[in-house]
Symmetry: C2
Subunit: 442 residues, 2 copies
């Protein structure tokens, strides 16, 4: 009899797992349960449709439902797995009874943290997640004059930019002194804030959300600094692991609330794997668990979980977290620690920074590229990087995460060769200059 | 008495050296001799002005002559150093007598290899090098209907693209079966050739140059496959080290004809350094000397030579040669070996390839990115990479050269984390997919 693997969740982790199971065991019976109407679309693209960078939500769909049928993956839409019994190895599906499994993959994702203020049940509060709901909200955006984005999380930063591009008077409310303050340093975000101002965005930092005001629909947002009229509030709070199902079944969770998994993405229960935002993964430098990484992490974790659930063997490593996104008119990104995070964790560091350019300075389309490198004081081993610029940020972030992982020093980076060709790269690679500046200062 | 360092050559290596000397010893007397009217312009930008991507030659100038005066660097323009006496430590300057030095940096660059066919003294033969001459040739281009580019070297590839963009009927003549055959693999260059065809370029591969035909001015180019009418021939032959001055003085040269230098960029004579295209540098994997690298290499070598000539200490390492350029409508690039080079050298390898994309597939401006990785068969250590695509090639080439240098394996690259954000990076990084494909095939 063929192996049956049940996957709970149809996001990047769940569908990565489904593919991983089939890759390891083409004969496996793969059954996916999702609470939504769709799988295989890109939720990360939603802000860009709202911002009109992308013209149609249909473009976010990556594969047809038939493609999964053809691949032998049995996806159950609008289905809720209400509980799992780890001893009997069965899952209970609302309205459909129980299904037994040989292995189980939990890819149950995240929930936005409750903003925890009065008025949370009013209309006009938008949690960006489901593409069908996003399509409805997109129509609402045409009617909105003023909007408040609650919290300058990465999604918050993208939504501020999107709503401003949409021509909506956009306010950003965040209790921190600058956007993405848990990840990015203030010098990296300063150009983003400048470009938001050019777009007419009103930022409210060091400002606490106090209430959503209105009768049925939100009409204003109450903050510690006053009331902001708004017909829409986009709630971009922290992503909390959605793991009530697994906790009820007895799976162990860690300090972040995410499932504890080993390098095979196996949970504390035999035959049960987990992947994506419902898990936590150790930081490669500190071992401190991290939760709420990116879609790319979720997909790779899902694939690893699926391969192992399907009888194969793959490991997933501790993470060094390259990150990046468009923000205002800039691209921001980095890897591992910034100055703010390192300082908060008590990790000592030296800094090397450089303001460089992406192409020859006379070549059309040349953009600034600022690189900041953090290194351990004595060894000068890289421990993190932050960047802001116009292009080439993602590729540098990927590289610098590997540089942290493999223990490159500022000296290694200062001696790095680089492509120089007017249309694609400047004589002086900003990473090299930043590393040399760090050496000179150390 | 202050140290006097004489630099022969005002290109990237020479001016890098001048800066390096001053960095090591701000009191040093730095005297630069150049045969040209200018220093501190970007010769690499010349094809792009011809192609009208850049609107004015003035934009290629990077610093004013006054800037060097202000920096205490004494540049002698239109000056020829006719000989150097390594025992007496003097240089002889045509029309200006001798000048003594405490240290000497030779940055005498390259000459294009003589095409070695009849008609080489006709008018209408353009060797791309000097910006003042390029300005004159640019006027000629307005009068040219048909042009032949001789050899599909990197410069040849850039000039073909430029002349085609300029609306000139452009022919490319090369004895090899595909362009840049000494560096790039045919699968990498195929899209470039396709895009040239779209621009109306006529390629003549496996075709030998036999003569330039004409009375005073070239009127046609004779090849093994027939006669090509042309009012202009752009000679893009191999760059040979221009080191007659050093050889006459007794400096040792290596198998490529370039000066042999140690890791301090010191030649065989005490106090004499060399940098740039007149030198040869070992390949990091094979130790085989390479000559004729890029402006970025020349500048870094010059800086190293200058710092050491100025009494400081810096080393330059063996090279892994990240490379890249615009070609037709694509960007090509790579690091270390391609399949063709590895095969020619008898280096065994396995290959992992992937056709990926630069952004989310639904995001405006998304471009294809093909990555091909070469690895040692048993260890699966990376030995080279080649790429063709629309963006992000330079940054990946820089990274992959470091990956070769530091012995990353296909497994390391397959487990690499990557930024996923719709506007800047796809869910699947092409390097990761190529590495995984290589693992699956190995």
């Amino acid at each position: 009899m063929s192996r049956r693997v049940v996957v709970v969740g149809g996001g990047a982790a769940g569908m990565g797992a489904a593919g991983g199971i089939k890759a390891a065991d083409p004969n496996a019976e793969v059954v996916v349960y999702t609470g939504f109407d769709d799988v295989a679309y890109s939720p990360c693209g939603i802000p860009y449709v709202h911002g009109k960078e992308i013209d149609d939500f249909q473009r976010l769909f990556l594969a047809s439902k038939q493609a999964y049928v053809d691949a032998g993956i049995d996806v159950h839409y609008n289905s809720e797995v209400t509980s799992v019994d780890l001893t009997r190895k069965v899952a209970y599906v609302a309205g459909a009874g129980e299904i037994s499994w040989d292995a189980l993959v939990l890819a149950t994702g995240f929930n936005y943290a409750d903003p925890g203020v009065p008025g949370g049940t009013l209309g006009g509060l938008y949690y960006v997640k489901n593409i069908r709901e996003a399509m409805e909200w997109d129509k609402v955006l045409d009617t909105v004059g003023q909007a408040v984005v609650v919290q300058a999380s990465p999604l918050g930063v993208e939504m501020v930019t999107a709503l401003a591009h949409r021509g909506i008077e956009t306010h950003l409310v965040d209790p921190s002194p600058w956007p993405m303050s848990e990840i990015a340093d203030p010098d990296i975000m300063a150009p983003v804030e400048d470009s938001w101002r050019e777009l007419g965005v009103k930022v409210h930092f060091n400002t606490t959300l106090e209430a959503f005001l209105g009768t049925d629909e939100v009409r204003a947002v109450q903050t510690s600094e006053g009331e902001i009229p708004a017909q829409l509030a986009v709630i971009c709070t922290h992503k909390e692991p959605n793991n009530a199902l697994g906790i009820a079944a007895g799976l162990e969770v860690g300090s972040t609330g995410g499932f504890i998994v080993d390098e095979r993405m196996a949970t504390s229960a035999p035959g049960v794997f987990a992947a994506g935002d419902c898990t936590e993964i150790p930081n490669g430098l500190t071992g401190v668990p991290l939760q709420g990484l990116t879609g790319s992490h979720a997909y790779a974790q899902g694939k690893t979980a699926g391969i192992n659930a399907g009888g194969g063997s793959r490991t997933y490593s501790a993470v060094y977290v390259p990150w990046g996104t468009a923000a205002g008119k800039w691209i921001i990104g980095g890897a591992s620690f910034g100055e703010t995070t390192a300082t908060a964790l008590g990790v000592p560091f030296v800094v090397g920074s450089a303001q460089g350019i992406s192409r020859a300075r006379y070549y059309p389309g040349v953009k600034p590229v600022k690189v900041k490198l953090l290194a351990e004081p004595d060894s000068l081993r890289l421990i993190g990087a932050q960047m802001v610029g116009g292009e080439g940020i993602k590729e540098r972030a990927d590289f610098l995460a590997m540089a942290v992982k493999f223990g490159f020093t500022l000296g290694d980076l200062a001696r790095m060769e680089n492509v120089y060709s007017p249309a694609i790269g400047a004589l002086n690679e900003p990473i090299v200059v930043a590393a040399q500046n760090g050496l000179d200062a150390a």
